[in-house]
Each structure stands twice: as structure tokens, then as C-alpha cells.
């Protein structure tokens, strides 16, 4: 850190970080008073996707594993909660607790096979498995409702209020993101980063690379399961689309846009992506085209994403 000599270095200390946390926290808590219903609902979606993107980034940015299948595990979470609530008539708490467990179990089975290959083959395997999950959801009418999905899920009255839903999501998402933050800053997380940097070297410091990659896969699946479950409860429905590969690429774009080497990258990326999508689509039918151009420009101009770009500009360090 001795090389930081510019005028923004004071932004790095504990105090500014605490101030930033208080300000962001304050804004998030008072948000229902500040914005209208439709934007509040968008913010809830944003929170849930931010958790999904952070979960993905545990693999993508921290372990260097490019997965094209996070949506599959997200959908496992959503459908677990949906089926338990709507078909099994279970209570909300066990229905939600079961989601990450189920996602972690499926993630373990899928990951166990995927980590046998690396790089592009790994990516292909994750894509293949998420398509399998999608197909199962799509075809298994008796349990998943097939292409009709599961709608009007009997969620508790508590969630009928948008403000309640918002606070519920805010608390749960913050808690999960805090846990992910603890994980990436632990010795375990540092080992994941070393694997990202140089997987073959890590073997020679006595690390079983595949086992750690699998652990990252399972942890990522677990939190994706939480995100899926939250979205199911918030929207009161579950559809095969949740598992579709385009959902996975959405998550990837959010991570890349914000910056995969910064912890807050996926969160910022999700916010930018969601706000862009919603505002542009209000004005034109061709919003996909405009969004595409903006993303291409952002990626070209800002290496390592928006947060990577900012931290480099402000602190001149990686």
C-alpha cells in the first residue's frame, strides 16, 4: 500500500468505509419512503440478483471457474421452495431452509463431475447440466407443472405487503452477502484466489485443487439456492425460465460489468444492469440493442468492470 500516493487514498481507511456503510445502509433502510412501488419492486429483484451474482462470483472471480450454469441451481432453490409450499403444503420456514440445502446437494453432484475438467470444458459441462435441470423442470409436469410453472403459491400474508417483502429480502440478502464476504476473506477464500491465479502451482503447496473447486461450487450453489428461494417467495411463482441459460448469462454479465475482482463488483453490476434494462425498456422496444451497445462500451472502456476501473483510478492499485 505504500505506493498509494494520490489524493484519494484517504478513501481507503476504516472511517470512510464505515461512513459509506452507514450511508448505504441508511438509504437502503429508508428506501420504501423514498421511491414508489414499482421501483421498490425492482429494487427487490435487484437485491435478489445481487445475491445470485455474488454467489456466482465466488466461483467466477474468486476461484477462476467460469460457470454458464448458475441459473440451474438458482432454479433448484426456487422450485424447492415452490413445491414444498404449493404441493406439500409445508410451512414457509422449512420450505425456505430446504432450498439452499437442495441446491447445495445438486450443486455437489453436478460440481463433482464438472471440476474434473477445466476452463472451456468446465464451462460447457456447467451449461449442459443447467440445461438438464431446465429440461427436467420443463418436462416433469406432475411435480414442477412443466411449462406452466407453479403460480399463486400460498405464501404467508406477511409477503403481500411490498414493504415487508423488501425488508425481508434486504435482511436475508445482506446476511448472505456478509457471509460470502467473510468466506472470501478467510484463509479458505485466499486459497481459492491462489487457485484462480495459478492452479498448477497451488498443487505444489499441498492443496487438493479439485476439492477446493468443488467446495467453491457447493458454496456458490447454496447461496444461489437462497436467491432462487427468495425470488420464489417474492414473486409467488416459479417458472422454467429461471433455469434458462439466458438467466445464467444475465448473471455473468452482471458480474463482468461490475468487475469480478472486486467484492462489490457483482452488486454494482447488478444495479447498473437492472436499472439500464428497466429504464431503457420503458422508452423503446429495441432496448436489447441499446443495452448491448452500452455493455460493449462499458466492457471495452473499463477493464475489470466498473468497480475495477474505479478502484484503479482512485487508488492506482489492483
Amino acid at each position: 500500500m505504500e505506493e498509494i500516493s494520490d489524493k484519494f487514498h484517504w478513501l481507503r481507511g476504516r472511517v470512510p468505509r464505515a461512513i459509506l456503510t452507514v450511508v448505504v445502509g441508511g438509504v437502503m433502510i429508508s428506501l420504501p419512503l423514498l421511491i414508489g412501488k414499482s421501483w421498490l419492486s425492482i429494487t427487490i429483484e435487484m437485491l435478489i440478483m445481487a445475491l445470485a451474482a455474488c454467489s456466482l462470483n465466488l466461483m467466477l472471480g474468486y476461484t477462476g471457474m467460469v460457470s454458464f450454469g448458475p441459473a440451474g441451481l438458482y432454479a433448484v432453490g426456487a422450485y424447492t421452495t415452490a413445491i414444498l409450499l404449493a404441493k406439500a403444503g409445508m410451512n414457509i420456514v422449512p420450505s425456505m431452509v430446504a432450498a439452499p440445502i437442495m441446491a447445495a446437494i445438486i450443486g455437489w453432484a453436478v460440481g463433482w463431475i464438472c471440476v474434473r475438467r477445466t476452463q472451456v470444458y468446465f464451462a460447457l459441462l456447467t451449461l449442459a447440466f443447467s440445461q438438464i435441470i431446465w429440461t427436467v423442470i420443463f418436462e416433469w409436469y406432475a411435480v414442477t407443472g412443466g411449462d406452466d410453472g407453479i403460480s399463486s403459491i400460498p405464501t404467508p400474508d406477511f409477503f403481500f405487503s411490498l414493504v415487508n417483502s423488501y425488508y425481508f429480502c434486504l435482511v436475508l440478502v445482506s446476511l448472505c452477502i456478509f457471509i460470502i464476504w467473510k468466506i472470501v476473506n478467510s484463509p479458505f477464500g485466499r486459497t481459492l484466489q491462489a487457485i484462480r491465479e495459478n492452479p498448477s502451482r497451488v498443487e505444489f503447496i499441498g492443496v487438493n485443487v479439485k476439492r477446493y473447486q468443488l467446495a467453491a461450487f457447493v458454496l456458490s450453489s447454496l447461496f444461489l439456492g437462497v436467491a432462487g428461494s427468495l425470488y420464489c417467495v417474492f414473486s409467488g411463482s416459479a417458472f422454467p425460465d429461471y433455469a434458462h441459460w439466458t438467466k445464467s448469462t444475465d448473471m455473468l454479465v452482471m458480474c463482468l460489468l461490475g468487475g469480478i475482482y472486486n467484492f462489490s463488483g457483482p452488486i454494482v453490476g447488478t444495479a447498473i444492469y437492472t436499472i439500464l434494462t428497466k429504464t431503457i425498456s420503458k422508452h423503446t422496444m429495441q432496448w436489447n440493442l441499446i443495452l448491448g451497445v452500452i455493455i460493449v462500451l462499458l466492457v471495452l472502456l473499463m477493464r475489470n468492470g466498473v468497480m475495477g476501473f474505479l478502484s484503479q483510478k482512485l487508488f492506482r492499485s489492483k
Binding site: E3, I179, F188, G189, Q193, E197, R201
Partner: protein, 252 residues
């Protein structure tokens, strides 16, 4: 006997890369493997650390057979290594490079929720000091100068508290001053820590000044083994490797 490799054999396709190689390293001993490019020196290292599977032969480390073990298991037993090509964790800081190896050595890397920042800092600092990088602790490893990265590699290997250290061309690409520093470091490691060291090295000045024993390899085989003095006097070695012009071999 710290390391005992017997009758190692490895072929790549039709090419016999390593043929009937015996290698022994004792505690406190500095052993060098020399030979022309393509003689199979690095392959021998790769066979010992499990990077490449053996075709034939056996390897014992402290009387335990390690022939078929995986690289991470072998390194956990106490064999560290550095690589010919730079091989560090470029985006991690110099400090973190060593720290992550220490996490592995202590089993701390299974800890999911403790904060990595303040763990083992003294030990990391010790190692950085012994390889001469204490003042560059916060710099990303990838931004260090070539010689510093080479020494950082040794630091990473040291973090595992190895009893045997395999160094693949530790002074390659270094300036004269850096080479002297590194030679001194290698000497010190053997003296102070009692580590058995095996080097692949092209700089004959380094080899002859620090080795207790030298293996000469040629076309996959060990053609001679002896003390520096014996190697210097041997005619076959003169012919295939040291050649008429000593300096050209030293510079390659």
C-alpha cells in the same frame, strides 16, 4: 537418506526422456543436476514431485514410498519446489503469496470464516525476510522484478517447511548481483534449516561453488556423479557438456 530415486524411466512417445536415473539427496546436502538443454533434468524433478507419472522406477522420501502419490500429497510430506518458468500468484500481494502457502502448510486453509488478514503475519514476515523481500510485502507478486519473483517462489516453497527443496534454475535470468544473492540464500537454507537441496542449474559458477554432489545428465541418462572436483576432472563430462569452451555452457 532423504530422497532416494531408483531406476526412473519416462518416455514421451518415442523419445526416452529419462532413462534408468538414480538420484540420492541427503539432509544438509546440496545436489546439482547439470547437462545440456533437453537432457531431462526438469523431467526428473517433475517425476519426483508427481507432476508427470513415472513409467518405471521407485521414489522413496524418508523411507516412505511416494512413487504414485499426487502432487499435493507429495508436497505435504515435505518436498517443496520452485519452477523454471515463473510460477507465482500474480494478483496476490507478495505477502499473500507466502501466506497462502502457509495456510496450506498449517491446515488453516480449511477455515471458512476467520479473517485471513492477521493470521500468521510474523511467520510470513520471517520468510519474506529470509528471501529478501520484506520491503516489498504489499506489492502484487506479478509486478515484482524477475529476480524478486524467482526469490518469491523460493519463499512460497519455504512456507511449507520442506525437508527437501527442488529448485529448477533458481538463478535463471538474474543479474550477477542477484545471482550472488540467491546463491547465498541457497547456501544459508542448507546451513540454517538443514534442508536437502537439489538444483537444476546452468550457471556453472554457481553449481561448482555450492554443490556437494553433481549429477551430469546427457540424453536422459546420468553419465556421471561425483563431487565438483571429480566432475571437473572427468573426461566424458568434459566432452559432452563442459566442452572446450567452458563459458558458452555457463551462459546458456
Amino acid at each position: 537418506m532423504l530422497l532416494q530415486a531408483k531406476a526412473l524411466l519416462k518416455s514421451f512417445g518415442g523419445l526416452m526422456a529419462v532413462y534408468d536415473v538414480d538420484l540420492q539427496v541427503n539432509t544438509n546436502e546440496i545436489v546439482s543436476i547439470i547437462g545440456p538443454n533437453g537432457a531431462g533434468k526438469s523431467t526428473v524433478f517433475n517425476l519426483i514431485t508427481g507432476h508427470i507419472p513415472l513409467d518405471k522406477g521407485t521414489i522413496f522420501f524418508k523411507d516412505k514410498e511416494i512413487t504414485r502419490l499426487a502432487p499435493h500429497e507429495i508436497s505435504r510430506l515435505g518436498i517443496g519446489r520452485s519452477f523454471q518458468k515463473l510460477n507465482i500468484f500474480p494478483r496476490l500481494s507478495t505477502f499473500q503469496n507466502v501466506q497462502v502457502a502457509l495456510f496450506s502448510a498449517t491446515g488453516l486453509n480449511r477455515s471458512l470464516f476467520s479473517s485471513a488478514k492477521k493470521l500468521l503475519t510474523e511467520k510470513v514476515q520471517d520468510i519474506l525476510e529470509s528471501v529478501g523481500l520484506a520491503d516489498k510485502a504489499e506489492r502484487p507478486g506479478g509486478l515484482l522484478a524477475h529476480g524478486d519473483q524467482k526469490r518469491l517462489e523460493i519463499g512460497i516453497a519455504l512456507a511449507l517447511n520442506p525437508e527437501l527443496l527442488l529448485l529448477d534454475e533458481p538463478t535463471q535470468g538474474m543479474s550477477a548481483a542477484e545471482t550472488a544473492q540467491t546463491t547465498e540464500l541457497i547456501h544459508r537454507l542448507s546451513k540454517e534449516r538443514g534442508i536437502g537441496l537439489a538444483l537444476v542449474e546452468h550457471d556453472m559458477k554457481v553449481v561448482f561453488s555450492i554443490s556437494d554432489k553433481i549429477y551430469v545428465m546427457h540424453q536422459g541418462m546420468i553419465i556421471f556423479c561425483g563431487t565438483p572436483e571429480e566432475v571437473r576432472r572427468n573426461e566424458e563430462v568434459q566432452r559432452v557438456y563442459l566442452g572446450k569452451d567452458k563459458n558458452s555452457a555457463a551462459q546458456s
